[in-house]
Amino acid sequence: MSRLENRPGELINRTKVIRFTFDGKPVEAYEGDTVGSALYADGRRTFSRSFKYHRRRGLLCCAGQCPNCLVAVDGAPGVRACTEPVREGMQVEHLNAQPGLDLDVMRATDIVGTKFTPPGFYYKTFIRPRKLWPVYEKVLRHAAGLGVLRKQQPEREWRTEYRRRHADVLVIGGGIAGVSAAKAAAAQGADVVLVDEGPAPIETLAGVEILARASALGYFDGIVPVWQGDTLHQVRARNHVFATGTIEQPLVFAGNDLPGVMLSGGALRLTELYAVSPGARAVVATTSDRGLDAAAKLADAGVQIVAVADLRESRTAAAEQLGARGIQVLVGHQILEAKGSKAVDGAVIGPIGVEGASVERTFDCDLVVVSGGFAPATSLLLQAGARADYVADRGHFALSELPPKVFAAGEVAGFDDPDSAARSGERAGLAAAGAPVEPADNGDGTRRERSPVAVPPPVAGAGHGKCFACLCEDVTAKDIRLSVEEGYDSIELSKRYTTVTMGPCQGRMCQLPAIRLMAKETGQSLEQVGMTTARPPWVSVPMGILAGRPFEPAKRSSIHRRHRELGANIKWAGDWRRAYDYGDPQGEALAVHQAAGLIDVSTLGKLLVRGPDAGEFLDRLYPNRFSDLKPGRIRYGVISSDAGRIVDDGTICRVDDDTFYVTTTSSGAGAVEEWFSWWLADWRMRVQLTDLTQGLSAVNLAGPRAREILGELTDLDCSAEAFKYLDGKQANVAGVPCLILRIGFVGEVGYEIHCASAHGEHLWDALMQAGRDNGIRPFGLEPQRILRLQKMHILVGQDTDSESTPFGAAMPWIVKLDKDQDFIGKWALEHYADEEPATRLVGFTLPNGHVPTEGAVIMDAGGAPVGQVTSSRFSPVLDRVIGMAWVPSPLARDGSQVTISDEGETMQAHIQTRPFYDPEGEVLRS
């Protein structure tokens, strides 16, 4: 660990050593170091291998902006070493190199293969023979890329969270301007959130929530997702202040990607924050005073500055000061080449506008510090609807228009010096908090005169050698030229063809260079070329963060514990966890026929419809009548849409004159409640709607012994004469107040018993106890499906789809077109009543004993599909295969045959239109 003497602003704690490994080798760091600063201090210069050519890449920006230091940390790829804090024991590995960073065999693509790897090379070179493409693709996939996701990850739990944060003002960027804005807005009483990618810029500030080490990912309709650690904050603010600063730009020259070529900001961060010397002998190339300031500070830190090339023609005060220190500043000069193989060992500098060896000078150095100007970080602002235009004298695109509720402050808005930045931040903060802002001191806000900058050429000198425009994707100046020659002559097309700006830096390093090259090659102005569209995410973000915590909400009935104790096979049924069977579905179904069965049907939707208009309300919602239903009686109902299609079904019991108890399918419960309340909101009738689905439990007790079992637990007269089929009665069962519906979904004498959920388990226990000597068995969803199929009772959604009408589903009797009342679906059903449906729902039996797959095809004589099987089961009581299917209407009659095609097998089915079991309903009514 070689370090400079104490730096005044250093972040490291020299008393605390942290140990981690890089590619298995131990590395020592200080607390406060980043992986990048620690490795650099350890002498490492090559941090990664490039995407395509596998060239060595080293630290460039030291600010998490460029792609050069991407590593894997503890198995997770795509982590930037330069901003990742060191942790004890962390395992850091390189990404894209075989067998290692310092000897990468794929480097051959750079040395011998350059001319074979222009943009789109894989489409051009590897197209013949075509059948070998899968082989080529495999090799290319392996060669390119930025790391590998291990399929076999060590077991780890990574819990990520969403958090919604509503605020008055969101400030993005915690620099001078951002902090001023946050302070000003908070002082107005605004609820402020301040986001910064680095450590907290201020300790605490009343009214400001500081999200440090957090990245704003984009701007979506007023929501800014902010990624911080394991949390994604979805920040919705009334107003936004963007103080996102600027991004230092590289220069395009031969060898500009060699390790040792570093942006001035990167070199300074290494020096000042981590006390790591970026090099011993440096050449500095700059287009503004920033590079000169960096040269002075690096010289202060002991770096020998051998030469400074200032692209500007005039010598500024900063240059004079350097000169006074004995540092030679060559004005009107640019860097033409960085020399070296593994790292920089020299730099060639020449005057602008003149070429040739006679005017070029080569300096020995191990560090090239470049500063190619500063581009405003406008991406998030552009996503929010701002506009940026090219400013010729600054050589970059600057904000020209802001949408409402969006403010910009500091460097991104052109306020470069600290005083101006602070004042612009304050003004933006006040405005964002809704406070009046005094008129600016001058037309241009409060900015000072800005120090001059020179606009660098698209590529330095003649552009020999590899001059990289894009480091992420290895796109050179030549590649951009080639793309224009091949017809991709707009920046958006060239972007897609060369993939420039599409890598991990998201255009931070390459957008401006690419635009300049594009302008040069097409002869357009930069204004004409324009910027590529800014899209989220602004920083690379793990998919797990976007996914959030996986929730799998489950509904369980109040009796669920009993099903588990009974060893039920429990499966998902919509949102519910339900007992599918108790291990013997056929036996459970038989028990219902032979003795008695008990099933938990708490999942049914249960609605209480109450009020003077309740009967009329239901008459308007259902195709059949309910206003004439007598209290204590039950009627089946099918809900249809205004298009005449079946939406749901269930039973309705009139409890008293003003009260109806409506059950719906389990999966349709929520939708039916919405549907009822929607029409109620529109019609505004004297009706109250209460959803009791969660509040009530229900069981269905069915079978020849059901009457006897129920009789043991209630004072109610359960005789066939007193408690008839389709009667609904209120009585105590096992001491619990219940509503008992005598219905026959499963085809035997049955009592659907509803009670408060708190008593569900007690009711179940009492019935099981009372039925013990009568051979009672619990039965699950699967035997219930066999039983209801025997009766051809439809399951909405299983036997019907969004096209099914009551007529097609063989229930014309449910539609009462003679009702005076208008009802939902009336007009469509009037139409369908006169029309023969193309297909009808019928039953079928299969003599060959094969149970066809639900969804199997009904074929006509020519083999064309004309219908489908919707339900099919083996019926133990009938000892044959039964099912339901939609078949062409002419075939929908007893005795006809249809052909079922099921996964390649064909079979003949016999059509039956009457229920398979107890077709006359004698058992049911007994």
Binding site: R236, E673, E674
Partner: protein
Amino acid sequence: MSFLLTCPNCGVREVTDFGYGGEISARPTSRPTLRELGEYNYFRRNRAGVQREWWFHRSGCRAWFVAERDTRTNEVLMTALPADSNGGGAA
């Protein structure tokens, strides 16, 4: 799509709290032709501008209410229960 809606019962909530019931259209009051019925069932005006529409507070009070929203900007100009909004019009 992301904006805030004011439920007349519960107050300001994220739009993801709500179910969208679509633009308010008049249900025919007398027997429509098949074409009119098809238009009522399947055709929408799909207005670019302020439209009256149904919303349902699905994750809240489960009430239906009427909103006026500019479909171009998602600016919500008004929300009210049907009884307070001079008629919902048929859903």
